[in-house]
C-alpha cells in the first residue's frame, strides 16, 4: 500500500500554492509541518481531488487516483480543516448520512457509528444537534466521520485544533494505533501533538517540500531538543 506523489504543482492565480511536490507515503503516521501558506491544505485537497491539479501525478498503488475515481475515495478518509456540518442534524444523523455516502449500510454502519461515537467520547451527545456543539465536540464529530468505513488512507487537516488536553492525549494514542495499518497524513501547527506518534515528518514552506525524514532523524539531525525546536531550526535553515 503506497501513495506516490510525483511533481505535483498547483497555483491560484499568481500564487504558487504547491510546486513540484514529490513523495511516497507508506503505512504509518506522516506529519506535515509548515507555516501558514506552506501548501499543506492544498496538498490534502489535491489528494482527495477537491481541487484541480496543474501538473504532476498522484498514484495509489501505482494507479492515478483520478483514474481510480470512486474506488480511491472508498479507501479515503478525509477530515477537512473547516468544521462544516448540517447544523440541525444530530451527531448520529450526520454520521449516518456520511456512512450512506461512503456506501455503508444497515447494522454494520450503525455498529461502526456507535463504536466511533464511543471512541470520540460523544456517546451522550449523539442525539443532540451539532449546531449546539462546542468547537472541540465538532472536531470530534469530524474525526469520527473521517474514520467511517475504516479507510486505508486517512487525511487529517489540523485534527487536534480545539480539543482539550485530555482529548488530545486520547486522540494521539488512537492515531498511533491507526497508523500501523494505513497511510495516515496529519497536518498541524502543534508539534507536540505529532512528536510521539509521527513516524515521519515532512517540512513544507512556500509550496515546496523543504525536508523529509524520520521523526528521530528530523530532531537529532539539527541538534534540537524536541520537535518544536527542530521545526524552528530547520525552518530558519540553522
Amino acid at each position: 500500500m503506497e501513495l506516490t506523489i510525483k511533481e505535483l504543482s498547483k497555483a491560484y492565480g499568481d500564487k504558487q500554492a504547491l510546486e513540484g511536490f514529490s513523495y511516497t507515503f507508506r503505512p504509518g503516521v506522516t506529519a506535515i509541518l509548515g507555516p501558514n501558506g506552506a501548501g499543506k491544505t492544498t496538498l490534502m485537497h489535491l489528494i482527495c481531488d477537491c481541487v484541480a491539479r496543474q501538473t504532476g501525478q498522484i498514484l495509489y498503488n501505482g494507479t492515478d487516483v483520478l483514474k481510480l475515481g470512486q474506488s480511491f475515495r472508498r479507501v479515503l478518509g478525509f477530515m477537512p480543516q473547516a468544521q462544516g456540518m448540517y447544523e440541525q442534524m444530530t451527531a448520529y444523523d450526520f454520521l449516518c448520512y456520511m456512512a450512506r455516502l461512503k456506501g455503508l449500510r444497515g447494522g454494520r454502519a450503525r455498529a461502526q457509528i456507535r463504536e466511533l461515537l464511543r471512541l470520540v467520547n460523544l456517546e451522550s451527545a449523539a442525539h443532540r444537534r451539532v449546531g449546539g456543539f462546542s468547537g472541540g465536540m465538532r472536531q470530534r464529530v469530524m474525526l469520527a466521520q473521517a474514520l467511517l468505513g475504516q479507510p486505508e488512507v486517512l487525511l487529517l487537516d489540523e485534527p487536534t485544533a480545539g480539543l482539550d488536553p485530555e482529548e488530545r492525549v486520547r486522540l494521539r494514542s488512537y492515531l498511533e494505533d491507526l497508523g500501523h495499518s494505513r497511510i495516515l497524513l496529519i497536518t498541524t501547527h502543534i508539534t507536540s501533538d505529532v512528536e510521539t506518534v509521527a513516524d515521519r515528518i515532512l517540512l513544507m514552506e512556500g509550496g515546496r517540500l523543504r525536508f523529509a525524514a524520520d521523526t528521530a532523524e528530523f530532531i537529532a539531525g539539527c541538534g534540537a531538543r524536541d520537535l518544536e525546536d527542530a521545526y524552528i531550526r530547520r525552518l530558519r535553515g540553522l
Binding site: 482527495c48 477537491c50 474506488s71 440541525q88 442525539h127
Partner: protein
C-alpha cells in the same frame, strides 16, 4: 447613531422596505375590479351630479339606468340570448307595442361598442346611485338607532338598569349622533385606504424585521461582547426603542404614504377634506363625527403608534427567551394566537374582548373603528376601539419597561433551557429512525424537514384544500347553449338518446308556443342534429356536462390560473432553493466531494429527491383542483370518450376523458418539473440558501407576478403559463422536455466542478 445607521441603511432592510412598497402598490393596482376608465368617468359623472339636489339626482340616475337596462335586454335579444322572461312587459313598456316590428326591421340594432360604453356607464351610475341612496337613508338610519334604543329599553328583558344589555343600549344611544351633515363627494380613495389589509401586514413585516435586527448580536455570537460593553444594556435598549419608533414612522410613511399617492392618482383625489367621514357608506357604523382630513391625520398617527407598540411587545418576547430559535417560535405562536383571536372570534361571544385587547388591533385600529361594538368589561359596556386606544399608553410603558429590564438583567450565558432538553429527548427516536433511511430518504429528510420544505407543502396543502376555487369554464371549448340540455341527458349517445329527444320535441309541440318553449324546441333540434352526427360517425361519444372539464382544461390564461401558477412557482422556489445551496452554506462541500458517493450518486439522489418533492407539490395541487371542480361542477365523467367534448370532437374514440384529464395534468407536471430544474440550476450556482431563493424568485416568481398584475409584456416570460397547458403552444412541451435534459446536463457539469477554485491555505 451607529445603531441607527446599522438598522436603517442595511441593504437587506432597504430592499425589504422597497419590495414591500412595490408589492403593496402593484397588488393594489392589479386588484381593480372595475371596468377600464371607471375612475375618470366616476369623477366626471360625480362633478355633474354634485350640484343637483339629492332627489333630482336620484331621479335622473334612475331614468338613465332604466334606459341602459332596456337597451341591454334588446342587445341580448339581438345576440340570441333567452330574454323571454323580460321582453313582454319591459321592452314593450319602453318602446311601445311595435318593438317587435322595430327589431325585425333593424331599427333597434345596437352595436357592441355602444353596449360596452353603456355597460361602463351603468357601473358608474349604479355606484353613484347607491351612494345617493345611502346618504338619503342615513338620517333615517340614525333615527332607527335611537328609536330602537328607546323601544328596547321599554321591553322587560332589557329594562333592568344594572344588566349589560340595558347599559349597552343606553351607550349605543349616547354614542351615535342624532344628525350628521353629509356631502356628495368622491369617497373611493377613502374607502380604498380603510379597506386595505396588505399595507398593514407589510408595515408589521417591516417592524418585525427591525426587531429581528436587534437580535443580530445573538445570531452572530456577539451577545457577551455587547452585554459586557459599558452602554450595551439598558442604554442600548432605550436607544433601540427610539429606533423602533422611527422604523414604525418610516414604514408608515413609505408604505402608506406610497399607497396614499397611488390611491390618490387612481381615484382622482380625496375630495373635500372638510366633509364628514359618514359621507361614505364605509363609515355608516362609525359614531365618531369627524372630517376626512382629521380621519387621515388620525389614521397615520395610529398606524405609527400601533406598529411601534406591536414591535415593542414582540421584542420583549424575543428578549425574554434565551435561545433564539425558541424565542422566534414563541413569538410566532403568540402572533398566530393573536391573529386567530383578531379574525375568528364572532361579535356575539364574550371572548370578543380579545379582538380588541390584541396586538393586531393596535396596528389596525383605524379600520377597526368602522365597526361599532361594545364589549363587556366587568359588566360595563366599553367601545372596543376605545378599549384598544385606552390600552395603548399602559402597554407602551409596560413593554418599554420590560425591554429595558430584560436588556439590563438578562445574562447572555444561561442554564440549559428545559424546553431544549425536552426537545433533545424527543429527537432521540426520530434520530434513530432517520439513521435507518437510505441516501434518498436522508436527502428527503434534509429537504423536507431540515430546510422546512414540509412547511411549504403543508401551506400549499391548506391552500389547495381550503382556499382553492374551481376555475371558470372556458366557454370557447364547448357549446354553452346546449350545456344544460346535454347535462340533463348525460350518458352514452345511442338510438335511445335520439328517441328521448324526439319524445321531448313531441311534448313541447303540444304546449302553448311561448317564447320559452320556442327557444327550448330550437335547442332540442340543435342537440338532435349533433346526436345524429355522432351516431353517423360511430365515435361512441357521450352527452356530458362539459363545464367541469372545460374549466380544468381552459385555453385562457385567466387571472385565477395566473395566481395559482404564481403560488406554485413561489412554493417551488421555497422548496428547492436549498437543495444544493445548503452544502456550501454549511461548508460541507469538501467533505461530500471527498466521499465515494459524494459526486455522481449524490447528484442523482438529490435530483430524485427534488423531483419527488415537486411531484408531491403537483399532486397536492391536482387533488385540490379536482376536489374544487367536483364540488362546483359535479363528478367528471371520466369514462366518457374524450371526443364527447366539443373541442376534442376530432380525437379518436379510444381515448377516455379520464386519460385526457390525466394527460393534461401530466403536461402540467412536465411544466412544473421544467420550472423546478430552473430553481435547481440556480441553487447549484449559489452558495447561500437565501441568495438562491431570491435569485429563483427573481427568475421565476417576478415575471409571473408582473404577468398576474396585468403587465401583458411578461405573459410570455412567465413560467406560470406552463401550468396552464392548454394556453401554451404545441412546441412548448418538446421545448420543456429539452430544457429538463439540458438542465440535467448543466447540473452534472456544474456539480463536477472542483469545490476549491481560488483559495490557498496552509
Amino acid at each position: 447613531m451607529r445603531e441607527l445607521k446599522r438598522i436603517f441603511l442595511s441593504p437587506a432592510r432597504l430592499l425589504l422596505l422597497g419590495g414591500l412598497l412595490l408589492a403593496c402598490i402593484m397588488l393594489y393596482l392589479a386588484e381593480d375590479v372595475h371596468n377600464p376608465g371607471f375612475y375618470r368617468r366616476y369623477e366626471q359623472t360625480l362633478a355633474y351630479y354634485r350640484a343637483h339636489p339629492r332627489r333630482s339626482a336620484a331621479e335622473e340616475m334612475d331614468r338613465e339606468l332604466a334606459h341602459i337596462q332596456t337597451l341591454a335586454l334588446l342587445w341580448r335579444w339581438d345576440h340570441g340570448d333567452d330574454v323571454s322572461e323580460f321582453t313582454a312587459e319591459e321592452l314593450s313598456m319602453y318602446y311601445g307595442e311595435d318593438f317587435d316590428l322595430r327589431l325585425q326591421t333593424g331599427e333597434l340594432q345596437i352595436p357592441d361598442s355602444a353596449m360596452t360604453y353603456l355597460f361602463r356607464r351603468q357601473e358608474v351610475l349604479q355606484s353613484l346611485r347607491d351612494l345617493v341612496q345611502y346618504q338619503w337613508d342615513y338620517p333615517e338610519y340614525l333615527n332607527t338607532v335611537h328609536q330602537n334604543a328607546a323601544q328596547m329599553a321599554a321591553m322587560s328583558v332589557f329594562s333592568g338598569q344594572s344588566g349589560f344589555s340595558a347599559k349597552n343600549i343606553e351607550k349605543t344611544d349616547r354614542d351615535f349622533p342624532t344628525q350628521v351633515r353629509l356631502r356628495l363627494d368622491n369617497n373611493l380613495a377613502l374607502e380604498h385606504l380603510v379597506s386595505d389589509q396588505l399595507g398593514t401586514s407589510c408595515l408589521l413585516v417591516y417592524v418585525l424585521a427591525v426587531v429581528l435586527a436587534f437580535l443580530d448580536e445573538r445570531r452572530r455570537g456577539l451577545w457577551t461582547l455587547i452585554h459586557a460593553a459599558p452602554r450595551g444594556r439598558a442604554g442600548l435598549a432605550l436607544c433601540r426603542a427610539g429606533i423602533l419608533l422611527l422604523a414604525a414612522a418610516l414604514g408608515t410613511l413609505v408604505i402608506f404614504g406610497g399607497k396614499f399617492v397611488a390611491i390618490s392618482l387612481r381615484c382622482g383625489g380625496w375630495g373635500d377634506l372638510s366633509r364628514t367621514v359618514q359621507s361614505s357608506p364605509a363609515f355608516r357604523n362609525c359614531p365618531d363625527v369627524m372630517t376626512v382630513g382629521a380621519f387621515l391625520r388620525r389614521f397615520f398617527f395610529l398606524k405609527v403608534v400601533g406598529a411601534w407598540l406591536a414591535g415593542l411587545i414582540v421584542w420583549a418576547i424575543l428578549q425574554g427567551v434565551h435561545h433564539l430559535p425558541l424565542a422566534i417560535a414563541a413569538a410566532a405562536v403568540l402572533l398566530g394566537a393573536e391573529y386567530g383571536c383578531y379574525r375568528l372570534i364572532p361579535d356575539s361571544y364574550s371572548l370578543v374582548i380579545l379582538r380588541y385587547a390584541n396586538l393586531f388591533a393596535l396596528v389596525d385600529l383605524p379600520a377597526l373603528s368602522l365597526h361599532y361594538l361594545n364589549v363587556n368589561l366587568f359588566g360595563e359596556p366599553v367601545r372596543g376601539t376605545m378599549l384598544t386606544l385606552g390600552l395603548m399608553p399602559p402597554l407602551a410603558l409596560l413593554a418599554l419597561g420590560a425591554n429595558l429590564l430584560l436588556a439590563a438583567r438578562k445574562k447572555p450565558v444561561s442554564r440549559e433551557n428545559p424546553v431544549l432538553s425536552l426537545l433533545d429527548r424527543l429527537r432521540r427516536p426520530v434520530s434513530r429512525l432517520v439513521g435507518r433511511l437510505s441516501l434518498l430518504g436522508q436527502e428527503l429528510y434534509k429537504l423536507l424537514w431540515l430546510q422546512k420544505g414540509l412547511a411549504v407543502l403543508l401551506a400549499v396543502g391548506v391552500f389547495c384544500f381550503a382556499a382553492l376555487e374551481a376555475p371558470y369554464p372556458d366557454t370557447e371549448l364547448y357549446n354553452t347553449r346546449l350545456a344544460g340540455l346535454s347535462a340533463s341527458m348525460a350518458g352514452p349517445i345511442t338510438q335511445d338518446t335520439l328517441a328521448g329527444i324526439d319524445e321531448k320535441l313531441t311534448t313541447y309541440a303540444a304546449w302553448e308556443q311561448t317564447e320559452a318553449v320556442r327557444a327550448q324546441t330550437e335547442l332540442l333540434r340543435e342537440l338532435k342534429a349533433k346526436v345524429k352526427q355522432s351516431l353517423a360517425k360511430g365515435d361512441g361519444a357521450w352527452l356530458i356536462a362539459q363545464a367541469g372539464p372545460a374549466a380544468l382544461m381552459s385555453r385562457q390564461s385567466t387571472a385565477q390560473g395566473r395566481k395559482n401558477g404564481l403560488i406554485l412557482l413561489l412554493a417551488l422556489c421555497l422548496l428547492l432553493s436549498g437543495l444544493f445551496a445548503a452544502e456550501p452554506q454549511n461548508r460541507i462541500t469538501l467533505l461530500l466531494r471527498g466521499s465515494p458517493g459524494g459526486r455522481g450518486r449524490l447528484l442523482r439522489t438529490k435530483l430524485l429527491a427534488a423531483l419527488l418533492a415537486t411531484g408531491l407539490l403537483w399532486l397536492l395541487f391536482a387533488l385540490g383542483e379536482l376536489r374544487a371542480l367536483v364540488a362546483t361542477y359535479g363528478p367528471l365523467p371520466l369514462r366518457a370518450p374524450l371526443c364527447s367534448m366539443d373541442c376534442f370532437a376530432a380525437w379518436p374514440a379510444g381515448i377516455s376523458l379520464g386519460a385526457g384529464v390525466l394527460g393534461y395534468l401530466l403536461l402540467r407536471l412536465l411544466g412544473l418539473l421544467a420550472a423546478a430544474m430552473g430553481v435547481i440550476v440556480i441553487s447549484v450556482l449559489c452558495t447561500r440558501i437565501n441568495t438562491a431563493m431570491l435569485a429563483a424568485c427573481a427568475a421565476l416568481v417576478l415575471p409571473a407576478a408582473l404577468s398576474y398584475m396585468g403587465l401583458g409584456l411578461f405573459d410570455s416570460l412567465s413560467a406560470a403559463r406552463l401550468l396552464s397547458p392548454m394556453a401554451c403552444g404545441p412546441w412548448t412541451w418538446p421545448l420543456a422536455a429539452l430544457w429538463i435534459a439540458a438542465a440535467a446536463w448543466a447540473l452534472s457539469r456544474l456539480w463536477a466542478r472542483h469545490p476549491v477554485q481560488s483559495r490557498a491555505r496552509g
